[in-house]
């Protein structure tokens, strides 16, 4: 069951540095939203508010129909998938055990089967990969395992923090493709952090452009291109386009 996400007037600071300044966003159930911006724009901080890795100083954060603080952080997190840039697989656990982590935490009786299915879904048959250690996989395969781990317990939401950022271009394109297919199959609500506008356009229904802790614009990629709300958004689009033009020559 996909779960909607919402943030209302959320502000946060680290020491004297403002990370989020009165930010509000909505992610409707089953949709995918990409947070785009430079380093320090606050996009990762906003993402981490939804599984309470960051507890904002002000504002309200909701997952489904509940404030995130309504339940213990540990319980909340077990219901939310999470993928980070460097997979974060436990190096001393074999692939199958890594993927079964959340099902085991949730004490699901079919934890191993759940892990098996998730691995099949990301294109890594258990027979070939289940017994391997993470260091016996390629970078792309490791991210696939991380992806499988995030969906193994069938969460209503997944949060992805630069999930493909450390991969080479080809693995990256392949992984984007299979992720997109998988997300639609599972119809899971997705919040994605990326600094790559093209990736955001490819994977997300809507894009949120952030800058210095504030939202510049939220809308579809088409809206961003045709009607950029600020100079910053316009420049961002222009730069991404210039990159594509260079390829065309």
């Amino acid at each position: 069951m996909p779960t909607p996400l919402a943030a209302r007037n959320v502000s946060h600071r680290f020491g004297s540095v403002v990370a989020l300044d009165d930010v509000s966003i909505d992610v409707p159930a089953g949709r995918a939203v990409a947070l785009v911006g430079e380093s320090g724009s606050g996009k990762t901080t906003l993402l981490r508010c939804f599984n309470r890795l960051v507890e904002p100083l002000r504002g309200e954060v909701r997952v489904g129909d509940q404030d995130v603080r309504a339940q213990p952080a540990v319980t909340l997190r077990r219901g939310i998938g999470y993928v980070q840039q460097h997979g974060g697989l436990l190096p001393h656990w074999r692939v199958l055990r890594n993927v079964a982590l959340v099902p085991v935490l949730r004490e699901m009786t079919d934890a191993v089967d759940a892990a098996r299915r998730a691995l099949e879904l990301v294109g890594l048959p258990v027979a070939d990969f289940g017994h391997r250690f993470p260091h016996e996989l390629s970078g792309g395969q490791r991210q696939r395992v991380a992806l499988a781990r995030s969906i193994a317990a069938r969460p209503g939401v997944i949060l992805l923090d630069e999930p493909f950022g450390a991969l080479d271009a080809i693995s990256r394109a392949e992984l984007q493709e299979s992720f997109d297919a998988m997300r639609r199959d599972l119809s899971v609500t997705t919040l994605l952090v990326t600094h790559d506008l093209a990736e955001a356009g490819r994977l997300a229904d809507e894009v949120v452009v952030m800058r210095a802790g504030r939202i510049e614009q939220q809308g579809t990629m088409r809206t961003l291109i045709t009607a950029p709300a600020t100079d910053y958004v316009a420049r961002l689009i222009e730069r991404a386009r210039a990159g594509l033009e260079a390829l065309r020559l």
């Binding site: 890795l53 997190r77 980070q84 974060g88 055990r97 935490l105 993470p134």
Partner: protein, 545 residues
Amino acid sequence: MKRILRSLALVEFAVAASAHAQSTATETATHSQQRPVVVASKPFGESYLLCEMFAQLLESRGMSVERRPGLGATEIAFGALRTGAIDAYPEYTGTGLVAVLHDSLPDSVLADSRAVFAHVARRFADEYGVRWLPPLGFQNTYAIAVTRATASKYHLRTLSDLARESPHLTAGFTADFIGRNDGLVGLSKVYGLHPRAVRPLAPAVKYQALASGAVDVIDGYSTDGLLARYDLVTLIDDRHFFPPYEAAALVNGKLESQIPNAVAALTLLSGRLDEKTMRQLNRRVEVDGEDVRVVAADELNTLGLIGGRQSTARVEQSRSGFARYMWDRRGDLAVLTLRHLLLVGLALLAAVIVAVPLGLFLERTRPLAEPSIGALGVLQTIPSIALLAFMIPLLGVGVIPALVALWLYALYPIARGTYTGVRDADPDAVAAAEALGTTPVQRLMWVRLPLAAPVIMAGIRTAAVITVGAATLAAFIGAGGLGEPIVAGLALADTRMILSGALPAAALALVVDGVLGLVERLIAPAHRREGIWRRQAPLMRTPNV
């Protein structure tokens, strides 16, 4: 905590029991009701010999005896006596006057050894509740000695002559002598003695150092067996700097009320040993390499204080090779090795129990970490013998203070290893585990500890090897172990005896390191295991934390 204390007490008991079992071989009768009399010595030959004579005398009168020979130096032996950890040991009035009381007397009194004895005995009784039994009958004063060649080259006859020539001479003095007011400190003041260099030497090697020309002048004892062997010249104390050093049994004040027979028995030796006799006995031990037990028994027999030979385990002095020597002592060495291992094992176990949680705690309170671990590191810089000496006023002598000192040494490497290992354990994996809903305890047990295990284990291995080495020094405070033959060998100038402790200790360090290396491979994170160990890593295991 209570349980730890109780188990420590059990060990103390077990260790004491084994020591007791060793000594029962030479006992004829034992009063099962009475506690054993604890007889000790300082770490040099004459002291060992007198201690053994005390012990055999007591045993011949039906008392059970516990021997604690070779206790550190004056502070340690006297500290142990004062706190009641030992009952008696041989001491010298001059040492009591200067090194313990820090007292000085007018020259007129110093010239009269009886007056000095009376003065020292009174002050010890008043201030420490410690009793000097009537003197044994000989003096053992410091004998500042040079070779005959040096004496003639520089025309040395008196200490004043020596002071005049001292800028040309290198001195080799025992550490004890260098620091004492009745040693080098006072000699410099009174005679103006300022050698070109002063080398601290162990008592066992000073004669060899002098004979080989490595040093020009040493501090000997006037009853040393080796003075005659090397044909040395003893310089005359022309300003009467040294106080009289009359030997006597020093006993704890409580012994008389608890075991009056013991005091009565020890008093039988008073006035029975003159200087000539003592020099001969020392010579048999230090030069001829005879067993202390044999020499002690012979003399007690000669004095008519024990009858027959029944109380003596006469040990054949086999001169045939080191291997044979070790083989003959295999039983003793096995017991000492076991005891050594027990000391190391317990100290290490206690250190792991404290330092691993400490390291984990510090990892969660990072600002405290470096200062705290740094403080433990400072402990590491205290010389073992000094740390052991600090323990005496608090914990007496024996196994407990040794365990505490060894435990203190082992804390640093283990706490450091744990802190560093857990802090640096794959931060990505830890962050992911947190984001996916593991509890802090689960992260610790499933991720951080398994990944930190090799670093923690490396700390434990370091601590283990350090502890095996440091434990040899525990013999100085009567904790036994392989340090016992080392300390005794140093005191008696017996190289084979030193090696019979040092070699097993070195082997033990290698074995302990090797065994812990295997453990390290066993507990390495699954993905880093190799070969046979690897197959044991589970494909899938439901964690149960």
